[in-house]
Amino acid sequence: MDVLDLARLQFAVTGSLHFLFVVLTLGMAPLVAITQTRHAITGRPVFERMTRFWGQIYVINYALGIMTGLVMEFQFGLSWSGLSHYAGDVFGAPLAVETLVAFFLESTFLGLWIFGWHRLPKWLHLACIWLVTLTAYASAFWIMVANSFLQNPAGSRVLPDGRLTLDDSGALLTNPSLLFSFPHVVGAGLLTGGLVLAGASAYHLLRRHAERELFTRSMRQGVVCATVGAFLTAAFGYAQFAAVAQVQPGKFEGNVLAGVSLGFMVLLGELFLFVCLFFLLPVVAWLPKWRWTHPVLIALTPLPFVAAILGWIAREVGRQPWLVNGRLTVEDALSPGLTQGMITGSLIVFTALLGLLAVVDYVLIARTVRRGPEAAFLGVAAADPATPGPAPAMRL
């Protein structure tokens, strides 16, 4: 492999790892927020246990989202400085807004939410998780603005020195590549979050966990959320074809990997829509009692992650050989002076480190699911006798 292939592989590996965690974050954030709202309104303890259990899974998942996201942000400068040289005046703007506003607020409010249990007033603590949710979706929006610019450099014009400049920020934000892809990504998140809730609840209901009400509610909530997600994903997935035909004709015809990924993603999407709309949703009231369906729900859980990665492969590989479609090739965007040694070194460091941590994170998520709500550590109260933490009166 040459330098270009290695640089692309590094971006693909870190980007795919990042999205695996982001897609679940997007799906689970509103579910946790809704559950906590129900607890705030009704005061019923089951909603608090639900919030803490799913919230802990959400938060453990979030950890890898941050770590992979940091590497993503710096990688533009490391391997693709040609992009910021050529199109930075346009491409940098949405990324700046994403980091400066959306992520800054998301991370700060998440810290307040995680460590604010039993410290913040109830409604302020609830507001924190809603703000985390809102800013997570704002983050996704601005990242999709930046990505859609690469698919179709709308709102920009070429300067006499050959570089791109921002011409019309309205056109940047109403890019045909963005309008249907953003709701598609939102749908994919809801689908993933919903199926994870349903699958994990199925696991415990199948094993006759004592928290029957908690998992019954969670399964129903998950199925409804997954159905909404599957519907949005499929509808806005198909709607994108018109825009793709307009701005990137032949995107999936000339490229085998993009075409095959697209095909299998569509297949999985149709499977989700079919299963959710015609099977899971109509019987959602009885589903928690029908134990024979639970292995199916468990088996479905990993599939939205596969579909999400296939979707990104189709979108990004289909853009090749362009980095900015029709304007800048990936070859020209490569940092001038990037050597085989440099890119090999960073590829090994990032892949090994993030790959290993991703495995650890998934083992921890699986472990948290398996141990159930009674072992949830997030938001545990000081007076709780089940507290696994250290005694408060310790000295150094």
Binding site: I66, L70, F76, G77, G92, A93, T99, L105, S107, F115
Partner: protein
Amino acid sequence: MDLLWYAVLVLLLGGYFALEGSNIGLGMLLPALGRDQPGRDRLVAAMAPFVLAGEVWLVAAVGVLFGAFPQLEGEVIFALYPLVVALLAGWVVRDAGLWFRRRVEGPRWRAFWDGALCAGSWVLALAWGFALAAIAGGLHGPVITLPGALGALVVAAVLAFHGRTWAAWRLPDAIPGGTPGGMSDATPGGVRGGGRAGWALCGSAALAALPAVLPLAVAAPAVLEHAAPSQTLSMVGLMVVPFVPFMVAAQVGVWRIFGRRRSRDAGTPSFF
């Protein structure tokens, strides 16, 4: 306009060193200040609520670099290639230590991730030192140099000092030199010590920000030359300005809620 964005960049990077620098420094000193596991748990619990709100300052600084000075972003990050890779690796390992250390019970698991927290913090501090020295030197030639090593030692020392000062402010009875004696928040001695410790903390925060702000001041003419056109700067400004009050409120909220005077509910187990 470009001058304003430059000020924002300096503010964000300086803020990162002042606010997150103490967490990095505390991570570096974790085995020295926390001799046993309960001691380390207590130190990590003290910094935990501040980490998420601290590291966003650097993410935002790089975002501003990308949005307002895009030409520079590619050049600077690429010129510092091995250091940026080391910095990211250190940052990720440090964060993994924080997020994972309490996820499984058992002394060996926690000791392992405490080791990751400490090692990651050291790599982060040293990589920053090399990088800031290279930026101060104008980014000519190799980035691993003798002045770079000196810069690394200075930054590591400054951050460690800041971390220790922060710990003395946040956990006065836990740190030698802090005000000894039980839950000192409630005692008059603790309050007096708090005032002194507060001023010491402001001083060490300013000291920690200095190694970041100075090279940026030296590089100011070169940075300003590379500003994005005004159309881009206005668009980013238009999107950011309405949210500044929220950003300030959230950051102030973190310090008000988890700051020194509110440590009465220290019995609540920390998530990190």
